[in-house]
Symmetry: C2
């Protein structure tokens, strides 16, 4: 792809996303769906103007990590902490149910082999946090109690998805179940989730100290972006998804984040120094949030369009009865499996429904699973086609369901005085 | 380059640019030089951490077109119009002198063949508008009379450079001098420079009209970025450099741009409608300028670092006397040739010196010339190495000269009451 042609393609993606998003919004369609549909239209499914090229995938991933950085900045960790272990429970249920049901249906009902059945189960585990967050924001529900649970769960869910993928991939390669290797990655990820925000907070303190001495504009933004990219790389290095690093960096740079040594630990050395460094810095957070927005407005749509571009509907044999049966069954499994995750925690019934619905969107991670399985000859082209259909419907339908749910039950779930 | 590794590389580029820029600034070095030096250090010349990869080149070019968009927005066309034909004269002199002198020295003094001699002359013609603009901004001289001339000249200069390159490339391929083809491109470019701002102004009027009905944030920015990318592509399509399209788009979206049908043409149909559409819109321009800045802060440094990365000093045989002689001679030619361009227009003597100095920086376009000549076997690796040395010195030295000049003579050139 030469450079000028690349400019044209990105212009087409950005303007296409905007066009479909805005036109869709007139008809009550969530804008994120408009952007994915723009990808289906512009991509190989229909017009074939945009191909899943390496530079575009890179920009798309840049968009999603910046979006997750913003989600992190916008997350009140103390508010989320009140949800306790609920995000963790929802995430585990949301991975376990689809994996188990997907496996059982593939192995026993569809009569497939062990490894492909496991892979199909794995494809159904991932929640697309990008889509979920966009829809919750659009519905102005991003700061509700159940949204806190869902966002936490979706981040953890992505980590679990990567663990499952690493496990299955190793199994496919060597024929051995590597429990130890998986446990090791899980340990690294756990440590990363503990240390990354503390480290990021320290970096953000240093940035704040040096900013006033800066010789040229853009100091805060470029250092924050550099840090965000480094954390995404580190997350990848230890075997976690990049978005985990971006989320951790954002969490620490948000206006709510502070880590005070509790009163009871008066003997801790440098206690007041630590408290000063780890104190909230809403002024810097506010400026950074303003400066990050233009980057997100520009790059996040590229991500959602590329989700649509990556789903090549031409690879589906629409006349095959087996494809329809299989995708119908798996779609049912993928909806029911994720929906059940909402009921794994003790909440009001409506809150459980909201959580269950918000966990359904699939998107990019499911596609990565399916593509890997296909390229490694673990699943056939027929199964791959069926999975693309499943992912497409479980990406496109939930935003509508969520929107319908909140417009009907939102006021009962959150009586006016409760709304943030 | 996998995606996580790409994040790491870009983090290294952004943070390296900032580090070298800030540290350099402590010692009075223009930040843009710090960024180019960061590229020399990180690139194959020294550490070899950053290679000139396709995605990085793409992001770098994205950075330079956004910078030129901002330069366009910041340019008062009515102020620039007062400089009349001066930018055009300076640009022509700034291309003609280095081309002629470079050719004569190569052909007669160094005894080279016709085509390589022409190519060497061509390599010396291009002014790096990016570097010039950055230095003038840093010295707070971007809005002075001579800066208006230099910015206009540097944009025209880039067009002339592309024309020379197209001409020489065609000559190298076919052995024929294609005057007609070159004249045709020149005509297209001329028409583009007339029509592109008018078209962009119309688009910006439409954006303004639709913005209030937008369903999601970022409408203005994403449409402006999409338009800027399209204009860059169109410029490339007609044979002009991409930055010309970006500059034209920025010019029309800046707060000063308006195109009123003059009073004398009262009979023109739709006169008041045209005047309304083509009226200045400072409120929208102001908001857009704020939102474009974060993109520029993030991407422009990638461009300047990649200029440094592209100059591989390891390709130079430092022990070859011929390389030193040749580059010394050509360096002299490249300085004198561009410097003379300042004296092609009637200005105060100090103004002529300022213009001459500001026209010297080379950078990326010279590199493209040299790389093309080398890859087409028109120039030898020795000549290529000498050209890289010439480009390096004529990129790194002028910012210092300009800074020294303005700190010594700036107050005489612009007595306090004249300063904008």
């Amino acid at each position: 792809m030469d450079i000028a042609h690349g400019f044209l393609i990105i212009a087409v993606i950005i303007l296409g996303a905007r066009l479909f998003g805005e036109v869709g919004a007139r008809f009550g369609v969530p804008t994120v769906i408009g952007e994915i549909v723009a990808g289906l239209v512009l991509g190989p499914s229909l017009l074939g103007w945009v191909e899943p090229d390496a530079t575009l995938q890179f920009l798309a991933q840049g968009g999603i990590i910046m979006l997750l950085f913003e989600v992190g900045m916008d997350t009140d960790i103390h508010h989320m902490a009140k949800t306790g272990l609920k995000p963790f429970i929802v995430a585990n249920a949301g991975v376990a149910w689809p994996l188990l049901l997907g496996f059982l249906v593939s192995y026993y009902v569809l009569g497939m082999d062990l490894l492909p059945s496991l892979f199909i189960g794995g494809t159904l585990t991932a929640t697309s946090i990008g889509i979920t967050v966009r829809v919750l924001s659009e519905l102005r529900q991003r700061h509700t109690h159940e949204a806190q649970i869902v966002i936490g769960a979706a981040v953890i869910d992505d980590v679990l998805g990567v663990l499952v993928l690493a496990f299955l991939y190793h199994f496919a390669e060597s024929g051995e179940m590597s429990w130890l290797g998986t446990a090791q990655i899980a340990l690294y990820v756990f440590l990363f989730m503990l240390l990354a925000p503390v480290f990021s907070k320290l970096i953000s303190f240093i940035i704040d100290r040096f900013e006033r001495h800066s010789a040229s504009p853009g100091f805060l933004l470029t250092l924050a972006v550099g840090h965000l990219l480094l954390m995404s790389y580190l997350a990848h290095l230890i075997g976690a998804p990049e978005i985990l690093g971006a989320f951790a960096a954002g969490l620490a740079m948000g206006q709510h984040f502070r880590l005070h040594v509790p009163e009871g630990f008066a003997g801790v050395p440098f206690r007041s120094g630590i408290n000063q460094i780890m104190d909230a810095n809403p002024s810097m957070a506010g400026r950074l949030a303003d400066q990050v927005k233009p980057l997100i407005h520009t790059f996040a749509p590229i991500f959602f369009v590329m989700v649509g571009v990556s789903m090549n509907l031409r690879e589906i044999d629409w006349h095959s009865l087996f494809v329809w049966q299989m995708s119908g069954l798996l779609l049912l499994v993928s909806f029911v499996g994720k929906f059940l995750s909402g009921f794994a925690v003790r909440e009001k019934r409506l809150g459980q429904v909201a959580i269950g619905l918000a966990m359904i969107p699939r998107g990019e991670v499911g596609l990565i699973f399916a593509q890997l399985g296909f390229s490694q000859h673990i699943i056939s082209s027929t199964v791959y086609a069926a999975l693309i259909l499943v992912i497409m419907f479980s990406t496109l339908a939930p935003p509508f369901l969520l929107k319908a749910f909140y417009s009907r039950y939102g006021s009962r779930l959150h009586p006016a005085e409760e709304l943030p």
